[in-house]
């Protein structure tokens, strides 16, 4: 419970590799599985792999969502899955981080082309390409580009980072995280008697592929009398069996095939010596020798230029022999088998080292830390260009605040802002009844327009008046959360817009009840409405900022607005007013209402009013831009 939020929220990781359970068993897959399980509290892991077996495209394996891309077979240890790069590219965006388990040139194709840059990439460097060395020149440039683009590279042993040519250029990004082993898996063996009665059982484990060097082990067994059990499956099986049969030692050298976890633990537990006869640097760490160490078994390994002889060290937890040397291997095995005390000593040392240096917790923490840093570093790099809160963000935040304001109204009363609508309905009724006494007839038919005008007026008045106090009211958000002040001026506009939608029920109801005329005028009125809103916002921006700087402006603005309202033809009927009145002609409100009222009523757009509004709006826009550039100073005023 505690660990998850201790740093922060869960994030999602896509593991990219060529194959997954149950198509294969092996060290890399164990690592992927351990990462998925060990980081489950902090990371939602998924796997994208290839498969040449007829398996469902989506499947949950050991609790991990796996997606498989159809492969037509293998070529140079690589699946022939032409659609894999495309599928990978399409999937990347759905995750917070991509973890590439290298080498996997098919995925390098995607990253080397610069695709998927929107997400951070972490490369788990499991091994260099050794088996098909002649094709290196083809994939090396791809791998190099992938490594350059990666946020971080994880290796299991420092030797890999310094001795792999490809990694030397990117050494600053390499992080050493030794694999971990779950000691609990082997806890049952701790107190069990070693089945050392015969004292001649040797166990090895790994995929039956050439670099594992099982042929060397079989040769070593040929002239000696120890038992050999090899756990694992692979394409070399026939060849190895042939070799065993050729030596005539099938009675004591057996290929056990793939085993499940429990069986494997039991087999390793039954070993007197565990052998890791790998012959090339493709063996970078030897996860399985670590498991044998956790089981308290002495190791015989090979002097590769990788982590192998450093995980189990010669003379302490292991006897290290030169690779591909059957004689030395046999000698080391025999020497150990002949000396139970030394075996016990080495086994205890091995378990001790597994517990202290290769704990799963350290591995999990190391990986999680690197993942998190990669996500953060990538995000920081991505955002370096777009500093601060952008315009779109401002609009979003303002909308969220306005929405919350609306909900706040509903919290305090069931009807919420509809109280204002009721108030307006009463006002319309009163005004309508008063006006109808002046006019001869048709008083009733003007009610919808009157209600609509009042709604618009309430909006304009509300936005401008709210804006005069908005910045002071939101002082804490401006000064403590560093939100740009313009957010709160936008918020006024949005909030009053939401209220106006409530109020619009009144004119709508009146219109439906009294005079449902044609709706063609609505489209003609739309540009006018937009101009009206733009004008309102620009005015609120300028006046809001000014009123924050000069507090005594607010009452002046308030009374000016009321005067302008009364001096405009908003509530008066045509018969009541002097259309030629100078004040009415220069009053911006007259034109601001005319540009949408007249198209709505008559379908005619009053061009002179539009011109007037557009001109005053351009003046306001210039003023708004000046205001916006100065608005940062508003923090001093509040």
């Amino acid at each position: 419970m505690d660990a998850a939020p201790a740093s922060s929220r869960r994030f999602s990781v896509l593991h990219v590799f060529k194959v997954f359970y149950p198509d294969l068993f092996g060290g890399t897959l164990t690592v992927i599985r351990d990462i998925c399980a060990g980081l489950a509290h902090a990371v939602a892991s998924s796997v994208l792999v290839c498969s040449d077996a007829p398996r469902p495209r989506h499947e949950i394996v050991n609790g991990i969502p796996v997606e498989r891309v159809r492969s037509l077979g293998n070529l140079f240890s690589l699946p022939i899955a032409p659609t894999y790069p495309f599928r990978l590219w399409r999937r990347i965006a759905a995750y917070d981080l991509v973890a590439l388990h290298a080498p996997f040139p098919l995925a390098d194709l995607v990253f080397a082309c610069g695709l998927g840059r929107a997400r951070p990439l972490v490369v788990h460097w499991h091994a260099d390409i050794v088996s098909h060395g002649r094709l290196r020149w083809l994939v090396e440039p791809l791998m190099r580009r992938t490594l350059q683009r990666a946020e971080a590279i994880i290796v299991s042993d420092a030797a890999l980072a310094t001795r792999t040519a490809l990694l030397r250029d990117v050494a600053n990004k390499c992080h050493v995280v030794p694999f971990g082993v779950d000691l609990r898996k082997f806890a049952a063996l701790e107190n069990s008697e070693r089945p050392g009665s015969a004292g001649r059982r040797v166990v090895a484990c790994g995929r039956l592929v050439p670099y594992k060097g099982f042929d060397v082990l079989i040769r070593a067994a040929a002239d000696h009398d120890f038992e050999v059990r090899i756990i694992g499956e692979g394409r070399e099986r026939a060849h190895l069996q042939q070799l065993i049969d050729g030596f005539g030692i099938a009675d004591r050298v057996r290929l056990l095939g793939s085993l499940c976890d429990d069986e494997m633990v039991a087999e390793i537990g039954a070993a007197d010596v565990f052998v890791m006869p790998s012959v090339t640097n493709a063996e970078t760490f030897g996860l399985v020798q670590l498991e044998a160490m956790a089981a308290g078994r002495p190791i015989v390994n090979t002097a590769l230029d990788t982590g192998v002889p450093r995980v189990a060290r010669d003379g302490r937890e292991a006897v290290t022999v030169p690779p591909s040397d059957a004689v030395a291997l046999a000698g080391a095995i025999n020497a150990l088998l002949a000396d139970p005390a030394r075996r016990r000593r080495m086994g205890d040392a091995a378990r001790q080292r597994a517990a202290t240096h290769f704990a799963t917790a350290a591995f999990d923490q190391g990986i999680e830390r690197i993942y998190r840093r990669a996500v953060a570093a990538h995000a920081a790099a991505h955002r370096a260009s777009e500093q601060g809160v952008g315009l779109l963000d401002s609009v979003r935040i303002a909308a969220a605040l306005a929405w919350s304001d609306l909900r706040h109204r509903y919290v305090r009363s069931l009807l919420g802002p509809f109280w204002m609508s009721i108030q307006m309905a009463i006002m319309v009724a009163v005004l309508g009844s008063v006006i109808s006494h002046f006019g001869p007839a048709g008083g009733l038919s003007r009610l919808p327009m009157l209600a609509l005008s009042l709604t618009a007026w309430t909006f304009l008045n509300g936005v401008v008046l709210d804006a005069t106090t908005a910045l002071q009211a939101s002082a804490s958000l401006i000064k403590d959360r560093a939100l740009p002040p313009v957010v709160f001026l936008l918020q006024c506009c949005f909030r009053q817009g939401l209220f106006a939608l409530h109020n619009a029920c009144v004119p709508l109801a009146l219109w439906l009840a009294i005079d449902p005329m044609d709706v063609g005028g609505v489209f003609a009125a739309l540009p006018g409405v937009l101009l009206f809103i733009a004008f309102t916002f620009a005015a609120s921006l300028v006046l809001g900022a000014l009123a924050t700087r000069f507090r005594d402006l607010k009452p002046i603005i308030e009374s000016c607005l009321t005067l302008a309202f009364l001096a405009s033809p908003v509530i008066w009927s045509p018969e009541m007013i002097d259309r030629g009145s100078f004040i009415m002609r220069v009053n911006p409100l007259t034109h601001l209402f005319a540009i949408w009222r007249e198209p709505l009523a008559t379908g005619q757009v009053p061009m002179s009013s539009v011109l007037y509004v557009v001109m005053s709006l351009s003046v306001l826009v210039v003023a708004s831009l000046v205001t916006l550039s100065r608005l940062r100073k508003a923090a001093f005023w509040i």
Binding site: M1, D2, A4, P5, A6, S7, S8, R9, R10, R369, R372, R373, V375, A376, A377, A379, A380, A381, R383, A384, Q387, G388, V389, D393, R396, I397, A400, L401, S404, R407, H408, V411, R412, S476, L477, I478, K479, D480, R481, A482, L483, L546, R549, F550, R551, D552, L553, R632, K633, A635, F636, W637
Partner: protein, 246 residues
């Protein structure tokens, strides 16, 4: 990479008296030919700082020494009068306790609103995560914030504010408000944020707290950095950490 660079930054904070807010008064002064009485105080004086990711900076000083002002300068609230401020990374300023919270709304609505203010889209999963961190009872999610004690309120606000890894986190007297157990947890989370390549700057006059949380202490007095920075030990380890992260 996340970083903050201040070079010779000064801030003159304009002090407005009651009359300075009046436009009538100002126009009158203009007409009478009197000088505008705009006073300013130098709130930040020639401050230079170079902060790289992994740093947890403690700003230490008495009231009015410019701690909060410096944080606001970095957050971009105030424009600097002179000097250069360069901030790389997304800044999450948490300088006030309840900025943006609406006490009438229920807890989850507030969390959603605060996340949106921080530019994040709230999803039920994120809100569940945040609520789990607060360790408050589930039924309280549906209660208005005004029914919460100040400690509970702090938990909610802290959990929400730090739910997402920010690159740069600016805090003003935050951890001191909650009870000990939660404050230990909050400290852990802060330290976790630093792992996420973050910079944390914390202003406080509680030197104990700063020693515990920060790896570099910057003492401020009257807007200037004074004395030798930090303890030698912590400073060295901080620099080491900075090197590793750089």
């Amino acid at each position: 990479m996340t970083s903050i660079t201040l070079s010779n930054v000064c801030l003159d904070y304009p002090l407005y008296g009651a009359y300075d807010f009046s436009i009538k008064r100002r126009l009158m002064n203009r007409l009478l030919g009197e000088a505008d009485g705009a006073h300013a105080v130098r709130a930040i004086d020639q401050v230079s700082l170079d902060i790289r990711s992994g740093a947890r900076i403690g700003l230490f000083g008495p009231n009015g020494s410019g701690k909060s002002t410096l944080l606001r300068l970095i957050a971009g609230v105030y424009p600097a009068t002179s000097g250069r401020i360069e901030v790389r990374g997304r800044v999450m300023p948490l300088l006030g306790l309840s900025a943006g919270a609406n006490l009438d709304l229920v807890a989850t609505d507030n969390i959603s609103l605060l996340l949106r203010i921080g530019g994040r889209r709230p999803t039920p999963a994120i809100i569940d995560d945040i609520w789990a961190f607060t360790e408050l009872e589930d039924r309280m999610r549906r209660l208005p914030l005004r029914t919460f004690s100040s400690g509970m309120l702090m938990r909610v606000l802290f959990a929400t504010a730090t739910a997402f890894p920010a690159d740069i986190l600016l805090l003003d007297e935050w951890l001191s408000v909650v009870d000990e157990r939660f404050s230990a947890k909050a400290e852990r989370r802060l330290l976790g944020l630093v792992d996420g390549a973050a910079i944390v700057m914390l202003a406080s006059h509680d030197q104990e707290l700063l020693r515990r949380v920060c790896n570099r202490i910057v003492p401020l007095d009257r807007g200037r950095i004074v004395g030798a920075e930090g303890g030698g030990q912590t400073d060295r380890s901080a620099r080491k950490l900075e090197e590793i992260c750089a």
